[in-house]
Symmetry: C2
Subunit: 336 residues, 2 copies
């Protein structure tokens, strides 16, 4: 990405092992993230051309001398933060705050044919075997959007008997619906005004659709919950309006799980003091959930790959960005 | 309180039963709260004279026709929010957000000889018998400062094996130390630069004292915790500096329990997104904890009444406010 709106597919230097804990993988599929649209739309500054992409699944080609558990030939999935998975923070389940974390992206861009993954043993999880082609989109989804939606639902404490509302109908929001369903939520309210996304939300387990937004959206959630608000609300957008919509849709004592990358969001003391909500979120520690998510996909219990409604060859990545920017596509899968 | 700094003890109309769910109690003791200092110092506007006080323990004198479980002659304790204790929010443990809550204070001021308590059945908890005089300060403490410190420690998820830091050395902060100890915390770091308060903190179970504040205070907590931060931090002040000190002293995945009434506090998205902390707090649902706290006091397991380091007759209330304002007293008990 050279500038907002300017995505080009170019030949760059081949990735290579830089540290003995690295691995090189050949991507089976990659994709465009909702968060890639922030710089695309000019909301994040671009000072030099960016190698884009942080969602990946593929075959290990080469590993560094200190890599133990990951071997060439394995099909692996990793998250957008490389983590050692052994430090105290990782062991507590917050691998995206690992003391040795490295953000994938510039150093190991995934919108490519091959990429370098640091801390391979801690970061990558191998599938039970090389998957058939039809499983690849779902496995790729686990790399970020599913893992992020799942974390949102976990942070919001979605559970049996609870009413869960989801703010945001992008891939993460839709997969938060799927996650809440898997976590046993009784009632799942998807907030969306786009028909195709509403359909997918219902398909993933939503029981109600709310089209109102902002204060009206929060008021509608209260109406649907005896005036109390939802037990759990997942925020999957990242704007001031969506965050307040999430907080105001939550009952006292309820939980807001926020996973949209916050942009210029400011919470006043009163927003969190008198509301009695629990607030938790941030960059999802996808690594925590990968073994379970891979198992659910491998055994056919969930099909998160449905969020990919446009598939393009990697060299048409620019078309993919346009389709997502114009909301013609929920999420674009790129085949290298 | 007629104006900032202007507290007078005056004869007012006797409280009386206004609703069939009310009770009238004769106060055995009452006290001055740290939050009473906000209007005293001019931080909260005073548009008409305020009847002060929301912490109370005493003998029931009269109950309304619909009061079932509370009877005249009982010694009772209640919280600063009256609650029905039957609605869904109360049953979830958030009585201070009860759908029928009424704030004690103006309508039923506790810095008095007698007061009206609404929703008596839901609000008041009777002790096993009429306590001896030496137990009264501790039972009174349960009404707010102990219950609030306890909620802060619960919201911060203080538990065995954890390191808990407490920001604020007022009565609530000191009793959050006691609460963390009771909840089994392994290490408890009290942040205080006042010798008498440090002593009480150590007496209540603190294992470490940190005198630094703000960013330096947070940095010191990180130093003491292998660079990671505390698992649990209780915020018991309510200013921007103390709230940020609490957030920045917490490790990723850790919990901030904030119970200081927030004044002009603003959290930026980045303060809570990249830090991965859990944030929860607000007006403590003291009613949730009262039965357990009364039991701990009645059986002599805790002695929270130690926070009262000055006792005055009610008619010297103005002196009590001055002593707390000038930090000559941690907390002032008033005998009606």
């Amino acid at each position: 990405m050279h500038a907002p709106g300017d995505v080009r597919v170019e030949d760059v230097a081949e990735p290579r092992i830089l540290k003995p804990t690295d691995a090189i993988i050949r991507l089976s599929a990659t994709c465009i993230c909702g968060s890639d649209l922030w710089p695309y739309r000019g909301a994040d500054e671009i000072t030099e051309p960016l190698h884009m992409g942080h969602e990946y699944a593929g075959i290990v080609e080469e590993v560094g001398s200190e890599v133990d558990s990951i071997r060439p030939g394995q099909f692996v999935i990793g998250s957008f933060f490389a983590s050692d998975n052994t430090c105290e923070i990782c062991r507590a389940g917050y691998q995206s705050s690992c003391v040795h974390r490295e953000m994938l992206g510039t150093s190991g861009a995934a919108q490519a044919q091959r990429m370098r993954v640091p801390l391979a043993d801690g970061t990558l999880v191998a599938t039970p075997g090389v998957p058939s082609d039809d499983l690849v989109p779902s496995l790729l989804a686990a790399s970020d959007v599913l893992g992020t939606g799942w974390f949102g639902a976990v942070a919001a404490e979605a559970a049996p008997g609870k009413t869960v509302a989801v703010v945001g109908d992008g891939a993460v929001g839709l997969l938060a619906v799927l996650s809440a369903k898997q976590l046993g939520a009784e009632r799942i309210i998807a907030m969306s005004r786009h028909e195709s996304r509403q359909k997918l939300a219902l398909d993933f387990g939503a029981t109600d659709i709310v089209t109102e937004r902002g204060d009206a959206g929060a008021a509608r959630i209260k109406e649907l919950t005896d005036g109390l608000g939802a037990h759990s609300v997942v925020e999957a957008v990242g704007t001031q309006e969506s965050m307040m919509q999430a907080i105001n849709a939550t009952r006292p004592g309820g939980h807001v799980g926020f996973v949209g990358v916050l942009h210029d969001v400011v919470l006043r003391g009163d927003d969190i003091f008198m509301t009695h909500v629990h607030v938790h979120g941030g960059p999802a520690p996808v690594r925590r959930f990968l073994p379970e998510l891979i198992d659910l996909i491998w055994t056919g219990q969930i099909d998160p790959g449905k969020v990919f409604d446009l598939e393009l060859p990697l060299d048409q990545a620019a078309d993919g960005y346009r389709a997502m920017d114009e909301r013609r596509a929920i999420k674009v899968l790129l085949r290298p």
